[in-house]
Every structure is written in C-alpha cells, then in structure tokens.
C-alpha cells in the first residue's frame, strides 16, 4: 500500500499529461490545464519557495548546533538572507534601493569573478594536459586551435578562411556527434518514461525493488 498509492499517482499523472500533449480536446486543454492545473501551479509555487527557505535554514542551524566542519560560514547564510530580504522588502527592488545597490556592487562582481576563474583553469589545463598523445587527440587539438582562432578578431586577421573552416568543423563533425548523442538520450528518455508510466521502473520510490 505504501508504494501502490504513490505508484498509481505517478501513472495517473503521467497518463494525464500524455493526453494533454497529444489531445486538443476542450476538457483536457481548457478544463484540466487552464482552469485546474494552472491555478494550482500558481498557488503551490509560494509554498515550494517557503519550503526551500525552511529547509535551508534548518540545514544551516543544525550545522551550527553540531559545530560541523565550516559551521562558521552558516552565519554568513543567515546574515545574507536577512539583510537581502530586509533590503528588498523595505527599500524595494528598483534602482536607487539597497537591494539593487547590493546586486550591482556585490553579487554581480563576486559571481562574475567565480565564473571567470574558468579561463585560468582552462589555460592551466591546456598547458599541462592537452597533449597530442594519439591521432585522435591530435585531431581534437588541431580542431580546438582552429575554432579558438576563428572565434576572435585576431584569428580572422591571420586568415580569412579560418571562420569558414571553423564553421565546417562546428557544422559537420561536431553536429554529427551531437546528433548521435541526442538521439541516444532521446530514445533513452522515451524508454525510461514508458517504463515509469507502465510501472516497470520503480527505483524512484526507494527501497530498491
């Protein structure tokens, strides 16, 4: 019973959405989707966000209580959460308010810095690990050099043909492999979805059976 009811809910929900995707009937498109499903979606989203906040707060407070590794950082979570919330609720979210100021002067530069570290790791990895150890690696290395050069204005100055060659690499060998992967993923998704709908795949229920 503990598993049968959830299983039935999943199967029923799945079948309804299969019907919604393939049938243009008024009952499924208007009555079910627009009049029933959408209002529930609106209503449930606020609760989902609240659940997220409660869950995160519980996790951090428990970390502080247990003095788990790096527990001190959890205070930063609470401080940031309270300050940003107050800034938004009291000062508003528009230009001129504290929230926008914090976004422009704190969140934006800090997040961008984290993302830009990628360039440093890439350069380091290119030097230390990108070796032409085999014919396949050599092809990959040459393709990478051509595409990287063609991406930038300096590369186009070196040869006007570089963008054409780069585009061919992206359009032909790159797309061939991408399509192969995507077809495989697509077929796998269909197979897994069918297995879930038919109740064959039950691992998401837990328990290992």
């Amino acid at each position: 019973m503990k598993k049968t009811v959830p299983l039935l809910i999943v199967i029923l929900g799945g079948l309804i959405f299969v019907a919604w995707a393939f049938s243009p009937h008024y009952i499924i498109q208007e009555v079910f989707y627009n009049q029933f499903y959408l209002p529930w979606v609106y209503a449930s989203t606020g609760f989902a966000a609240l659940l997220g906040v409660i869950s995160l707060s519980m996790m951090h407070s428990s970390k502080i209580k247990r003095k788990a590794p790096k527990w001190q950082y959890s205070y930063f979570f609470f401080a940031s959460f309270v300050i940003t919330s107050l800034a938004g609720f009291i000062g508003g979210t528009q230009k001129g308010g504290l929230l926008m100021w914090m976004f422009e002067n704190m969140q934006m530069p800090m997040s961008a810095t984290m993302f830009s570290l990628l360039a440093f790791y890439m350069a380091s990895a290119a030097y230390k690990a990108f070796r032409a150890r085999s014919p396949e690696a050599t092809v990959l290395l040459l393709a990478a050099i051509v595409v990287m050069l063609a991406q930038v204005p300096l590369g186009v100055k070196i040869s006007k043909h570089l963008p054409t060659i780069s585009q061919w690499i992206l359009d032909v060998p790159n797309l061939a492999s991408k399509r192969g992967i995507m077809l495989g993923v697509g077929l796998g998704s269909v197979a897994t979805s069918l297995k879930i709908l038919l109740g064959i795949e039950r691992s998401y229920l837990g328990g290992g059976d």
């Binding site: 350069a123 230390k128 585009q167 790159n174 991408k178």
Partner: protein, 393 residues
C-alpha cells in the same frame, strides 16, 4: 632537471599571472578590431528589425540566468534592448529564475540612459520573475494577459497600452532565451512546434555547441554565442543605426490614423565590409563630428544664432568638415546650450563604454585565446622533446 622537464612542471601560478595580464591589458587599453558577423547573429538582428514600428509584433526576452554568467550574456541583452528601442519594437521581459529579476531591471535602466523617453507599459513590459516555466510557456501560446496576469509592478496586463494588438505568440512572435544552460530547449521542444513561435538564444560560449543542431535544422532562427555573439550584435546595432543609404528616405512618417511608419533598412555584407561602415562601430574614443559640405550647411542652418560659434570650431580634414568636441570650452558650451552640445557629441559616433563592452572584451579574448594556443603548443613541444630524450636514453 633540464629545461624541458622544467617546462612540464611549470608552477601553474605563472600561467595564471600571464593569463591575468593577457586579459587585463587589452581591457584597459581598447583598440579597434573588426568582429566579423556570422549568419546566426545576422538572422536574429534581421528578424527583430523586421518588427520595427509594428503594433502587432513584439519580442520576448527571457533572462534565465544569474549574475555569474552576466559578463557574457548581459552585453547581448543590452545590445538587443538598444536595437529594439531604437527601432521602436515592443519588448517583453521575464525570468524563470528569482536571481534574474534584478538583471532585467539593471539592463532596462542601463539602456534608458540612451533612450530616456521609453516608458514601462508602453514601450516595454517587464513580467519580472515567473515560476513554473513550462506552464507559462504553454499558457502564453493561448493568451498572454490571462497567463501572466500582472507585470512586475503589479499592474493588470490588459490595462497596459503595450498589450494593444498583442494576444499570444501570433503577435509576440519571437522569444530570445538568455541562459548558460540548455534552458532554451523548452521553447524549442514545446512552444515552437505547437504555436510556431520563433526561437532564438543567447548562450555562453561553452553551451553554444549544444544548440547547433537546432540552428541547422531551422528550429532556431538565430543564436548569439558567448561574448563573440554579443560583440557581433553590438556592431550591427551601431553600424545600422548610423548607416544611411543615399537613395533611401529615412524620415519617420505617419499614416492616416497617426501611427508612425518607420523606413526599412538595407542589410547586406557589403555594407558591413565597407571601410566607411567600419568607422561607425569604432570602440576607441571618438571626438570628431564629421560632415560633408552639404551636411554642415544644413546642420548649421538649424542653429543660426550659433553659426559664428560653429564656424569658429569648424576645421577641414581630408576634404571633410570636422568639429572636434574636445575643443569646446565650458564657456562655449554655456553659449551653445546643452541641446546643440549633445547633438555634436552624438555626431562623433562615440559609444558609451557600457554599449561596447563586448567588443572590448573580445580584444581581451583575442589575446587570451592566442595565449592558450601558445600554452598548448609550448606544452606539446616540451612533452615531445622530453619523450624523444627518454626513448634515446
């Protein structure tokens, strides 16, 4: 330890220092470089341009990212907003991500400095953060006002002037999804086949390869890929805003009902490759307002009371009349007034830093790419020489 072994074991901090310098120096010293535009960028530009001045057409910009990917995506968003406002294209904006809401405000506020007259609810509408992307995407296909209900300021959509003539995807006919993930696929998978919505994406460079199949199959009409895509779009916006074909009448006219009719614009590679057009998208500081003799006469005729002042600033260089705005003293500025001063500055085609940031970034990216290629080559040379020595020994 010989030099090749040392090369293989080079401390990565040296690499970091070289990369940092390779990026910082070009950012601090901008130079003019030509970003060759590619078809995915040009197609998106042309589609947005085809909506110019139309009441029954609009674009939707979906800001599905947070601040981390802003260096690549934000210049694209600003460039498209500039294009849309310059060509009087209605813009709708939303985000499926709470952290994306301030980015929309920040982008709109940035562009408002260039277009101070645009109004929320009239020229653009910000839906703000909307949860449940899938439900919203499908719902907008039937009716936008019913699905979204209110804008970010809490106003009922059906009361906003921008909604006149806009019902669903038949009118809101193009969505541009900005993301650092495969989020754009939702539009392609669901909204494109069911409602015929035109989809384009602005993605970080690392994600671009994932979208190429959709671009080639025609499921996506265009794509801005990384900082390069943003730089290309910035260039197109600047070039075609300033380019004037002598045979086209660029005046904005009105029809019998008082609706503005914007003239069409020619689009072609020959315009982009023309030396004169390259001058229109320079990123170095421009201080010269240039005129032909006829242009100068008609310009100065608009300001008869300041004719003597304009003539005192007038110089002739390479057969053109030029006015160097740096030679305008504070006293002269007081005398000519802010309106004329601003118009002269506009004629220099000098672009604000925030509107050329992708092209400046591409200069840094050029140097960084060359550095990385050099690292790969040097690393491989060291590796093979060392290997050859080991075999010999």
């Amino acid at each position: 330890m010989n030099i090749f072994e040392r090369m293989q074991k080079l401390d990565r901090r040296w690499i970091y220092i070289v990369v940092a310098l390779a990026i910082i120096i070009p950012l601090m010293i901008p130079y003019d470089s030509d970003n060759v535009t590619t078809p995915p960028t040009e197609n998106l530009y042309q589609m947005i341009d085809s909506f110019a001045g139309r009441e029954d057409r609009a674009i939707l910009m979906s800001f599905y990212h947070d601040a981390a990917t802003m260096p690549e995506l934000f210049p694209m968003e600003v460039a498209i907003l500039r294009h849309a406002f310059e060509r009087k294209v209605k813009v709708f904006a939303l985000t499926w991500y709470p952290a994306g809401a301030p980015i929309i405000d920040y982008a709109l506020n940035s562009v408002k400095e260039e277009f101070p007259d645009i109004q929320s609810g009239v020229d653009y509408c910000n839906f703000g953060y909307k949860p449940q992307a899938f439900a919203m995407i499908m719902g907008m296909g039937d009716n936008i006002a019913n699905t979204m209900n209110t804008d970010a300021e809490g106003r009922k959509l059906e009361n906003l002037p921008i909604m006149k003539g806009i019902n669903n995807y038949s009118e809101l006919n193009l969505v541009v999804e900005f993301s650092g993930s495969v989020a754009g696929m939702t539009w392609i998978t669901y909204a494109r086949p069911k409602f015929g919505l035109n989809v384009a994406t602005g993605v970080t460079a690392v994600m671009a390869a994932d979208y190429y199949p959709y671009l080639q199959s025609g499921q996506m009409i265009g794509m801005l890929s990384g900082l390069k895509g943003a730089a290309e779009y910035e260039k197109l916006v600047d070039v075609f805003a300033a380019y004037r074909d002598p045979v086209i009448d660029y005046r904005i006219t009105e029809d019998a009902e008082g609706n503005q009719i914007l003239p069409g614009r020619p689009f072609g590679r020959e315009i982009l490759e023309d030396e004169a057009s390259l001058d229109l998208s320079k990123i170095t500081t421009q201080t010269l307002a240039k005129f032909t003799d006829e242009q100068y006469l008609s310009f100065s005729a608009k300001y008869p009371e300041h004719l003597a002042l304009l003539n005192s600033l007038r110089e002739v260089q390479d057969g053109q009349v030029v006015i160097d705005v740096t030679k305008i003293t504070p006293e002269m500025r007081n005398e000519m007034g802010e309106f004329l001063y601003r118009e002269l500055n506009q004629l220099t085609r000098n672009t604000l830093y925030k509107f050329k940031v992708a092209r400046i970034g591409m200069n840094a990216q050029s140097v960084a790419h060359i550095m990385i290629i050099l690292f790969i080559v040097i690393g491989n040379v060291g590796y093979f020489i060392q290997k050859a020595r080991e075999v010999k020994n």
